[in-house]
């Protein structure tokens, strides 16, 4: 039987298989939403979907692509932006 505090859906349920062969439910905090492009709203590639604690310990280069507007705009929108600036 689920204990009362775990009936709320604010925590994610993760099913784990123990070394003894049992199936156990782990209650973990939910992941943040996927990072979106500020211009077109598409999901950004190369930006991990991790809790802030893990993001803190990650190096900067693991958290966004290494180009101007990396982690803010998608690659298509950056190209458009740079083209517009150059013209």
């Amino acid at each position: 039987m689920v204990s009362g505090r775990h009936k709320s859906r604010s925590l994610r349920r993760v099913f784990k298989k123990t070394p003894g062969g049992r199936n156990v439910v782990h209650y973990t905090p939910r992941k943040p939403k996927v990072a979106k492009c500020a211009d077109c709203g598409d999901a950004l590639k190369g930006v991990p979907r991790a809790r802030p604690v893990k993001m803190q310990n990650m190096p900067k280069t693991h958290k966004r692509p290494e180009r101007p507007y990396g982690g803010v705009l998608c690659s298509k929108c950056t190209r458009k932006k740079i083209k517009a600036q150059a013209r």
Binding site: A38, R67, V72, L73, R79, K80, I82, K83, A84
Partner: protein, 185 residues
């Protein structure tokens, strides 16, 4: 980043949609073979470009050499490297350089437009104090001792007093002593 957000907010306010739609047309435009040839002609040696993709995006560069119908060698504010023509945006200006010019010539050519290229020197690795493992030292000393033991028995005792070694070491040395006299017999 903050500056960019402010800019995008401004764009939204001013509703600069017609420009964007034009750009989108250019991005989704499919090339016919003739157009393709024309575009490749645009990227002759000496053509000033802006790089669109990668970590050098937004930096200006010059076409130094043509590699094949799609790739060119570029140099300038970017790194000197092979580049796909699709990743470049050609500008109106051209620079006077020879085909396959060295970096110093490119540097001079860029000075004529008023851009000074700053070369980054490769960093020299700093000399770090070498860490000596404590365990490795002990092992060496212990291996030295048994050789000295058979000649003079008193020496190891002196060493003990100086160090004031914890119990573990004393345990380790005793068997060594016992082993040495056995060989003599």
């Amino acid at each position: 980043m903050a500056a960019f957000f402010a800019a995008s907010a401004l764009e939204k306010r001013l509703k600069l949609k017609p420009d964007k739609s034009l750009l989108e047309d250019a991005a989704t435009h499919s090339y016919s073979s003739l157009e393709r040839e024309e575009e490749i002609k645009m990227f002759d040696v000496g053509r000033l470009c802006v790089k669109l993709a990668g970590r050098d995006a937004g930096q200006r560069c010059v076409v130094v050499d043509k590699i094949d119908d799609r790739h060119v060698l570029i140099d300038g504010m970017t790194r000197r490297r092979k580049c796909n023509v699709l990743h470049l945006e050609a500008l109106d200006e051209t620079l006077k350089i020879k085909k396959g010019a060295i970096h110093t010539d490119v540097k001079k050519a860029f000075k004529t437009i008023g851009i000074e290229l700053v070369d980054t020197k490769p960093k020299k690795a700093k000399e770090r104090p070498k860490k000596v493992r404590k365990g490795a030292d002990k092992k060496k000393k212990e291996s030295d001792k048994p050789k000295a033991n058979p000649e003079i028995k008193e020496k190891p005792k002196v060493v003990k007093k100086k160090k004031s070694v914890p119990k573990k070491k004393a345990v380790a040395k005793k068997p060594v002593k016992k082993a040495a006299p056995k060989k003599k017999k």
